[in-house]
Symmetry: C2
Subunit: 296 residues, 2 copies
């Protein structure tokens, strides 16, 4: 799998890398804090030809999501754009299929439980863009007597990171993918046993869901397949997804009042695509050895 060096980092990210390098020194895992990040060549291509046309996108309804995950061979490689669902809302349309050689579901689950305990661990994932990370209940997250779901779900993760040169200050609510709308039978049929999915809101507006994020994956013979989506913006379906009464409706009304439009969301979507390609490639790069060293 041919890879290219990432050729562009906003200056703020370059400066953050230097700060993070100092902050992480002395940690037992500093060797996994990298300077030169890469992206597989075949992943880059489809993100450089403008946003997807409207007819190739769809809004994040339950029906659409299940259709997407039921035809994995057609799951897009890496695309970005905007899904305009009229009065129901408008979101980014970010869909990406990663392959992480030598990685497993077990390693990925370990990573999502392990990295949230210290912000410096979070740095390893994207050394240029990750600023801070705090989980609501670290004891529960670390409690090996509990299941993955018991440790991760309902245990909000406050993250701060650059998406492009903009700081995202958000709370991720990792949630069972079935609660997010995916059929249990479908996930089982395709052996999609991994999930680190959820909804998110801005830190200062916790009751307005503004993101649906799906990271669903499975073991294959030589590694791990990850199927990722980000829908960022506002959609009425997110009342049910978040469990916040009329949260989706309020999100749609506020986005409209704030003047969020296709152009602003396209910009977010492209930056998110670059961010996602960079960070999951990097995670795949470090995870096998990181897990071997710290996985027990």
């Amino acid at each position: 799998m041919e890879k290219s060096l990432v050729t562009y980092y906003p200056i703020k990210q370059q400066l953050l890398w230097k700060e993070n390098e100092i902050a992480i020194s002395g940690k037992p895992y500093t060797q996994f804090f990298c300077r030169h990040l890469t992206i597989p060549v075949d992943l880059i291509g489809s993100t450089q030809y403008g946003p997807l046309s409207q007819e190739k996108t769809f809004p994040p309804t339950r029906e659409n999501l299940n259709r997407l995950f039921d035809d994995l061979p057609k799951f897009p490689r890496a695309v970005y754009g905007v899904a305009d669902d009229g009065d129901n809302g408008m979101t980014t349309f970010n869909v990406t299929r990663h392959f992480l050689p030598g990685v497993s579901v077990k390693m990925m689950e370990w990573w999502f439980l392990w990295h949230q305990i210290e912000k410096e661990r979070y740095f390893l994932w994207f050394p240029y863009a990750h600023i801070d990370n705090k989980v609501a209940d670290p004891d529960r997250l670390s409690n090996s007597q509990l299941t993955y779901a018991e440790r991760l779900y309902g245990n909000p993760n406050h993250i701060t990171e650059y998406i492009g040169d903009t700081v995202l200050d958000a709370v991720i609510h990792f949630t069972d993918p079935v609660q997010l709308g995916l059929d249990k039978a479908l996930l089982e049929k395709h052996n999609l046993t991994f999930s680190a999915s959820g909804w998110a809101a801005s830190f200062d507006r916790p009751d307005i869901p503004n993101t649906l994020m799906l990271h669903i994956g499975r073991d294959v013979s030589d590694g791990f397949e990850l199927y990722s989506c980000y829908f960022i913006g506002a959609h009425k379906a997110w009342s049910a997804v978040s469990g916040i009464e009329r949260g989706g409706e309020r999100a749609v009304a506020e986005a409209k009042a704030a003047g969020v439009n296709r152009e602003t969301l396209e910009a977010v979507s492209y930056e998110m695509a670059v961010h996602d390609m960079t960070e999951f490639t990097q995670l795949g790069h470090i995870l096998p050895e990181l897990y071997r060293r710290f996985g027990n």
Copy 2:
């Protein structure tokens, strides 16, 4: 020489590529209009560690420029930053050393005379970023009875292009490098026989010089060495460089009044570095075959 695909294009550049692809169709040189551009890996590295610290930069005075070009082995590979010269002005500090395998001075001179005749030729150089190009006197530029200097100098080139996602609408005045401040003896000593250097101004402010650009080069055994600098901003030395009385002083006063500062120039400088690395790598990639096909 290992190369990486360019991993990031602003959306506006992605859309321009598609427009340019349509505009260039039917031209005899469309095969040289590329989609996948690259940058040598060793060129990228030093542009991703934040702007140069102040003490590693210098303002574009005659003395500094001659010192820079007299020690070519120490000519920086690719750096960006800001040179703050106090009351004398503040400029970007972009210095880059390119090596173009299989290219020669002859080809480079041909390119600078040939590409300005049609905007679609200009597209080949940077298909994502070049918008338009017009030379004041195309007959003189094309007149093979005249020397390179007679055709190029004093024949302003109006260019429109994206630097990052910002449109630059400028007029380049290609000028003898000796008039720009480089010693003739020094250029001869190092066999630096190529130049496509000059000063520039915004199209709508032709009397305010805002850029000094040096592209100086020479043949070596297996290709062409290009030594490039961009100083963008304002400097008092540019009255002499441009031949505009008090042009440099006015540029400095206007930049100050407009609030141009280190941060704004650092952003320009980084985008310029990425632009320069991309376009000269691409020119080197297409030029040998383009010259073979159209050079006579």
